[in-house]
């Protein structure tokens, strides 16, 4: 047994940390947040390091990295927390293409995804009946003369703003779900951000958008939801790593503050009530951390991982949320000042809490998985 990262993962981690500290410092992110969010030039900085294609095999111009490699980077991005389409495009979008596309579709998409600068693929799944069950996909795709017409709205889509392409889930005539690759500039497609205590969320509307059938992922041979479910098993732990990175950073901020802020003539970390908050943070953090990395290990080594994946997402969502709450207790007034930047994590923790399923959803899935494995 050895729970340490490999040498090359340590290198990835170091360069990711360096990038985050240099380009996405807290002050910088606070400024970006008030000035309209993540910019395409920021995405380029990440893509230039080859990370847009990290999970793409060499044959398509990618790095051919493992899921754990990607997680190491996302852990560091989570420490920012660096917003932007890196998860949507380089992980969820990319893995969906790898899982479900025809060879021709792969040839046309993956090399461009791998360089990042030209293609950003944002999955647009959820609708007004919000949730991560197949039954909640109601948008229709009607087929006529080799084309599909998409009509409807996708809600709470991550990173759609700024994406060049949208991966849209819609019901085919057969009742199956199809996944469509839609160029964001196609007539009838409109995007708008949804403001609030959240990050990177938008609404995508499809108003009689006509898409050539060659843009249906895998030519519709397989139910799109099956492709997506398979993809999510791999993608979710990488999102968890991002949540773990965020939790880790927020824990460090709190510990440092507890050791420097003086009230009543002593550092507040001397008060047991403040200690309780920080202890809660480290407990939450470590639970999420090790569950996440074990799930990744199982996936990378080809073991059955469903139960681990669901457990990881339940724990990581909970951890990031609670670690931020505890940080607000520790920082009191300072923590709610925007310039201090804690709120960037807080709203990210809220955003990711339900993204790809909230803890309750994953706990139910966990029980299902245990049942399927004969554990229950």
């Amino acid at each position: 047994m050895d729970l340490s990262l490999t040498e090359s993962q340590e290198m990835l981690k170091a360069s990711a940390r360096e990038l985050v500290e240099r380009e996405f410092s807290k002050d910088n992110l606070v400024k970006k947040d008030t000035n309209g969010g993540f910019q395409p030039s920021d995405w380029k900085k990440i893509a230039d390091l080859g990370w847009a294609g990290l999970l793409i095999p060499d044959e398509f111009g990618g790095e051919g990295g493992s899921l754990t490699d990607a997680a190491v980077i996302f852990h560091e991005l989570g420490r920012g927390p660096v917003p932007g389409p890196h998860f949507s495009s380089a992980v969820l979008g990319t893995l969906t293409v790898l899982e479900g596309a025809t060879p021709e579709q792969k040839m046309s998409l993956l090399p461009r995804l791998a360089v990042g600068a030209t293609v950003v693929l944002a999955p647009a799944i959820t609708e007004s009946d919000y949730g991560w069950s197949a039954s909640q996909i109601q948008m229709k795709a009607a087929k006529r003369n080799g084309s599909y017409t998409l009509n409807g709205a996708k809600l709470f889509v991550q990173d759609a703003i700024g994406a060049t392409h949208i991966l849209c889930a819609a019901r085919l005539g057969s009742g199956k779900i199809g996944l469509f690759i839609v160029d964001a500039k196609t007539p009838g497609v409109s995007l708008r951000p949804l403001p609030g205590f959240t990050t990177g969320v938008g609404e995508v509307r499809f108003d009689r958008v006509i898409i050539h059938e060659s843009n249906l992922l895998g030519e519709g041979r397989e139910d799109g939801w099956t492709i997506l479910e398979r993809t999510l098993q791999k993608a979710i732990p990488i999102l968890c790593a991002y949540q773990v990175g965020g939790s880790e950073k927020v824990f460090e901020m709190s510990l440092e503050y507890a050791n420097t802020r003086v009230q009543f003539g002593m550092v507040i970390g001397r008060f047991q009530r403040v200690q309780d908050h920080v202890i809660e943070q480290v407990n939450q953090l470590d639970a999420a951390r090790w569950a996440t990395y074990e799930a990744l290990w199982k996936l990378d080594t080809g073991q059955p991982a469903a139960a681990s994946v669901h457990m990881a997402k339940a724990l990581a969502s909970e951890a990031y949320y609670q670690v931020c709450n505890a940080a607000h207790e520790v920082h009191a007034g300072l923590g709610i000042m925007r310039e201090y930047g804690l709120y960037l994590h807080t709203k990210m923790s809220r955003t990711l809490y339900h993204y790809l399923g909230d803890p309750k959803f994953h706990k139910r899935r966990l029980t299902n998985a245990l049942e399927a494995q004969g554990v229950i």
């Binding site: 919000y130 809600l155 609030g196 207790e329 709203k347 955003t351």
Partner: protein
């Protein structure tokens, strides 16, 4: 006020004027713990006999009921119901159109704010702005019951009492009532209580948050004035205020707790400036619209010495009164929770997996939790209100209610998020819920943890008042 109206406040005093012998503390307790004695009392009452120590027969019905049951219901006499009618009619005629109550108080326009101030002044003419303060100081000289009626009726218009955030009336005036000289009461109270001026409270500094006694803003005597220098933070609220109520250090080399004093500070004095703070939410202190929080800079500000309240370097004792109020006693109305009503509505309307949220078991569990938290808030306030008006000695109850509210606020945020997912987080006009009130609660739940003392500080006070781990229980600050 007649016998029915005194039911809430009986047995410790009897506003009906008839001396109710139930006020004998020992008797009351005995009655309740000793059922046999109670039965005997009732029997003797029914037979019309007078018994020693017994309740006054002039009030038999009330007394009887009181002996048999506790009473959680606020009941009002016909006279009080008449007063309610008067308030209703007046509000109907006088609440101006277009009163604003934005989800985020920061969005309150100057126009909307001025409407609130104007309404406040009009109410003051009838003694309704600060109903329970003495008339001679600009208050209404009214009873607690009447104040509750005014507050409840305003609540129907989504307005609070007072209709604008005013720490001057809620905190400063109450403290000045205890610590001010007669001259100071005559000078400072009428402008506040008639709504002529509104005040901020200037307590917190960069190095003095929980540790308020550590304030470094200095106020040094110079002839008939004090010269003030320093910086205050987290000072409410939008659209300025005429006065402030400030704690400062009057003896920089003095001993801790013996170096502080309180001042009434007119904000138009030269040397007072402020800037808005950029916060994730500025908070709704006790539900009152508070708008922005500010950093206030004080540079060689000359305050007349007359404005020092409670004696030089006696400020920590004065703070005892102020903080007692802030730690829970000024918080909370007895009116229901509006957010909860909005949540119920959303759960009736919005669908998940094709079924209304209300039809999902997990949602129903969360709703039950939300309801319980909101009911406990109401009950703890009801209890505190009863204790105050019945002049029961209070110790930990204020901070206990406040602690509950703070905890409940954060739990509510999470429950709403669990029920509504990303809908809870957006204030988008089309997709957001209830005009942004749900999204604001997500930020507000976090921010509610800190004002008026953090969660930890409430616990510190509760522990001291209960005497956990100490021989002598700490006493509450002096109240009017």
């Amino acid at each position: 006020m007649s016998k029915v109206g005194c039911r809430l406040t009986c047995p410790s005093f009897s506003p009906c004027g008839r001396r109710c012998r139930m006020r004998g503390e020992t008797l009351w307790i005995r009655c309740f713990i000793n059922a046999a004695y109670r039965a005997a009392l009732i029997l003797s009452l029914l037979s019309g006999a007078r018994i020693e120590d017994g309740p006054s027969l002039s009030c038999p019905f009330t007394t009887l009921e009181r002996l048999l049951f506790m009473d959680f219901e606020l009941k009002f006499t016909p006279e009080l119901e008449g007063f309610r009618k008067k308030v209703q009619d007046w509000l109907k005629a006088n609440i101006p159109d277009g009163m604003e109550n934005p989800a985020d108080p920061v969005d309150l326009t100057l126009e909307g704010y001025n409407k609130q101030r104007a309404l406040g002044r009009k109410m003051a003419e009838l003694g309704w702005l600060y109903p329970t303060y003495p008339k001679e100081y600009g208050g209404g000289g009214l009873s607690d019951d009447e104040a509750i009626i005014i507050e409840t009726e305003l609540d129907r218009y989504d307005q609070l009492l007072p209709p604008y955030y005013d720490s001057g009336g809620k905190l400063a005036a109450a403290t000045i009532m205890v610590w001010g000289t007669d001259e100071q009461k005559r000078a400072f109270l009428p402008p506040i209580l008639t709504g002529k001026v509104r005040s901020w409270q200037l307590l917190t500094e960069p190095d003095a948050g929980s540790d308020l006694a550590n304030v470094k803003t200095t106020a040094i005597r110079d002839g008939d004035h004090y010269v003030v220098n320093g910086q205050k933070i987290f000072v409410g609220s939008a659209h300025g205020a005429e006065w402030s109520w400030m704690i400062a250090n009057t003896s920089p080399n003095g001993k801790r707790h013996e170096n502080l004093s309180w001042f009434v500070l007119p904000m138009d004095l030269p040397g007072v400036t402020w800037t808005h703070m950029d916060l994730i939410f500025a908070g709704n202190e006790s539900g009152a619209l508070s708008g922005y929080k500010n950093t206030v800079y004080l540079e060689n500000v000359r305050i007349p010495a007359f404005n020092l309240v409670g004696g030089e370097n006696n400020g920590w004792k004065v703070a005892g009164t102020h903080l007692e109020l802030e730690h829970g006693l000024m918080q909370g109305s007895l009116n229901g929770d509006r957010t909860l009503q909005k949540v119920f509505k959303v759960c009736r309307d919005l669908k998940r997996e094709g079924r209304h949220l209300l039809e999902h078991d997990d949602v129903r569990e969360e709703l039950a939790d939300l309801y319980i938290d909101s009911e406990l808030t109401r009950l703890l306030h009801l209890r505190n209100y009863w204790m105050r008006s019945a002049k029961k000695p209070m110790t930990y109850e204020g901070p206990q209610a406040y602690l509950h509210m703070k905890r409940a606020a954060l739990r509510t945020s999470k429950s709403l998020h669990k029920i509504l997912g990303p809908y809870a987080l957006t204030l988008d006009k089309e997709r957001g819920l209830e005009d942004g009130h749900i999204e604001v609660q997500q930020r507000g739940g976090i921010v509610a943890q800190h004002p008026g003392g953090t969660v930890e500080i409430q616990k510190v006070i509760i522990a001291r008042r209960l005497g956990i781990g100490r021989a002598v229980k700490e006493q509450a600050g002096v109240l009017r």
